[in-house]
Amino acid sequence: MLVAGIDVGSTTTKAVLLDGRAIVGEHAMPTGVDLALAAEQCLHAACSAARAAPEELEALVATGYGRDRVTRATAKVTEITCHARGARALVPWARVVVDVGGQDSKVIRLDDDGMVADFVMNDKCAAGTGRFLEVMAARLGIALDEFGPRWRRAKEAARISSTCTVFAESEVISLLSHGVRPEPIVKGLCDAVAARLAGMVHRVGLGGGLVMTGGVSRNEGVRRSLEERLQATVTVPDGSQFAGAYGAALIALHLSDGRGGEKGKPDAP
């Protein structure tokens, strides 16, 4: 039984194909400006990996901010539910999920059964999101992949007082103009993001397994800053950036089992 989940995020579109509970295909690509096209291409690529066609899918659940553009979706579910479901499947002891995507970040508390018990999202600006880090990396002239090594090399963190992307960029420019090396700036930026995330974690309640998903979960600097701030271990599972799509695929599996909701309506995972 082939089912799929697709997560059309602001920066990246991800698709995961399941045959039963086994992952048989996955793909990630930049979302670009045409969300429907990105979703279609990503789905085709994931299906190709499994030597299948999208028409063979028994259920497809779309999530992410572009979920409404996925016309062939069986159901559309918010990324909060999907990330919770995906993270729990990837890390069975997960109780708090920190998902940091391109344009928003969210912290989800799970109950004993892995259901969403509570959640909080960042406010309307880009602070604490992947976009924030992208802008800063561009200003520093370094790749996002370098954040981890530079964070490790930093002896101290530069103070980035603003979490507004535009103002923080001004601060970075000011620090560079004062001859501050990129390493402490990188650490300061990671600390600034972690400070916001930690506040959100405390709102839903820190306790139990802490898991990070979404594109920014691969940023070692942010993860380590968050661990320092929370004094807790942050687990980043393999395929963490696919957690939303994986959760969507698991919900699709649930739907195709005949235990799900009606077509086009969100399912209770």
Binding site: T78, D104, V116, D118, M121, K124, K265, P266, P269
Partner: protein
């Protein structure tokens, strides 16, 4: 503190943005020059239309047409109610008294005036696409965007000429701090008396007497200073208020029905009327028509949200500009706002023989004022009475009185097993948030309720 500030007394006639009933600008140049130009011209400019008696006659004449096109009796009754007040205020037929949202409007109707609530008018302005122009006009007056947009749009609406000219301004000191200060500014701009009624934080008989004495002073002083006002009509306004309250309690009883007989998104629109019209003789006919409509809806099973899955209690106001938020909730998620915090009639019936104490009691019994337990108690009561599955707090930007208690309310509700969502947003400023994010938050909350229901099964 009661009484007009010196600035209010001193300035007669010269006012920024306020126009007389004939539409003549009486603005001081500096304030007027800062107001952005409106896109509409001539007769169609809202500030001109609102002051044109023919516009009101045309609107009244169009009501049968609206009815023929499917408008319900209660909707017509609500329009009649608002048209009557707007005509009185903008055409200068009665002295117009600006009030803050929690002043009992029976006071103004009873004095023979017409109340005008700039905060509620801000919601209307947003609904008619004038929110951005009002906010922009307010910004030109150096107001901080940190102030609640309902107040900013009120001040800006006055500066842009959208509001009528007040004969006096009456505010209460409870709940909303920005309201009394922005309205004090409007009184200074209009050069009219300003009154502030102090409502003690703690509820007591002594406090009630203190408020009653202030109400009496305000009423008598207004009657003395504003031509056309008299205290003689106060008992009549209280009788009208009681009559409307009786009808309204029936409406509330019908709204307890599962599924909800009234679309919550529409009910939230009528919160503005709920704040505005107590004491108007036209309010009871509106609630009577609404009661009839809801009873018929229940009889015919013609519920607006068929197969209702979840029932929400909505705290604070809603976005009044065009938004897909409620379409998503009601159509895509089959969930209803079953009741609203601001639709709760918290006061007892009034005694027309004792109007000042009755009006004072209405103010002191406001559950949003006083210790947070008071508000929480009402919310929990509404959760029970309206079979609520989850509570949504619309966290209006800059609304301290409501948002300040959100964390405690959320925590207490969760302890009792009632899911709670703090939904950041803005009721007037459509540029201050991202609709897709709000939809995702609300959608995720509904999914959380879905999961709970599955778990219960």
């Amino acid at each position: 503190m009661v009484g007009p500030p010196a600035s209010g007394r001193a300035r007669n006639g010269a006012a920024g943005g306020f126009r007389d009933a004939r539409g003549g600008a009486r603005a001081r140049g500096a304030a007027r020059r800062r107001v952005p130009q409106q896109p509409r011209r001539g007769f169609l400019r809202p500030e001109t239309l609102l002051r044109n008696k023919w516009a009101y006659r045309a609107a009244s004449a169009a009501l049968p047409l609206l009815r023929a096109r499917g408008a319900k009796d209660y909707q017509i009754a609500a329009i009649e109610c608002m048209l009557s007040d707007f005509a009185d205020a903008y055409l200068g037929r009665k002295p117009c008294v600006f009030t803050s949202a929690f002043v009992p409007t029976e006071l103004v109707y009873g004095l023979g005036g017409v109340p005008f609530l700039p905060e509620a008018a801000s919601g209307l302005a947003a609904a008619f696409g004038l929110g951005a122009a009002s906010l922009s006009a307010c910004e030109a007056l150096w107001y901080s965007p940190d102030l609640c947009s309902f107040h900013r749009a009120g001040v800006g609406g006055a500066a842009a000429g959208f509001l009528p000219r007040p004969s006096a301004v009456v505010v209460t000191a409870h709940l909303c701090d920005g309201g009394k200060k922005s309205l004090a500014h409007l009184s200074a701009l209009a050069g009219c008396p300003f009154y502030i009624i102090d409502v003690p934080f703690a509820s007591s008989d002594r406090g009630e007497r203190w408020v009653a004495s202030q109400v009496e002073f305000v009423a008598e002083d207004l009657a003395r200073r504003v031509p056309g006002l008299s205290v003689d009509g106060l008992p009549r306004a209280l009788v009208a208020s009681n009559e409307a309250l009786t009808e309204y309690r029936e409406v509330c009883a019908l709204r307890r029905n599962v599924p909800a007989p009234w679309r919550g998104s529409e009910a939230l629109n009528y919160v503005l009327l709920f704040l505005w019209s107590w004491g108007s003789p036209l309010l009871a006919p509106f609630y009577r028509a609404l009661r009839t409509h809801l009873a018929r809806t229940i009889d015919t099973q013609g519920f607006p949200v068929q197969s209702e899955r979840h029932r929400l209690l909505w705290l604070n106001l809603r976005p009044y500009y065009r938004t897909k938020l409620f379409e998503h909730l009601e159509r895509d998620r089959a969930s209803s706002v079953a009741f609203e915090e601001y639709s709760f009639a918290y006061w007892p019936a009034m005694d027309p023989r004792d109007p000042f104490v009755s009006l004072a009691r209405k103010m002191t019994s406001n559950f949003g004022w006083g210790p947070i337990e008071r508000r929480l108690e009402v919310i929990e009561k509404l959760v029970d009475e309206y079979s609520i599955d989850g509570v949504v707090q619309f966290a209006q930007w800059g609304c301290r009185q409501s948002n300040g208690g959100a964390a405690i309310i959320g925590s207490e509700l969760r302890k009792k097993g009632v899911p709670f969502l703090n939904l950041d947003g803005d009721g007037v400023d459509d540029g201050s948030g991202i609709e897709a994010q709000s939809i995702t938050r609300l959608g995720a909350f509904i999914e959380l309720l879905d999961a709970r229901k599955v778990g219960e099964r």
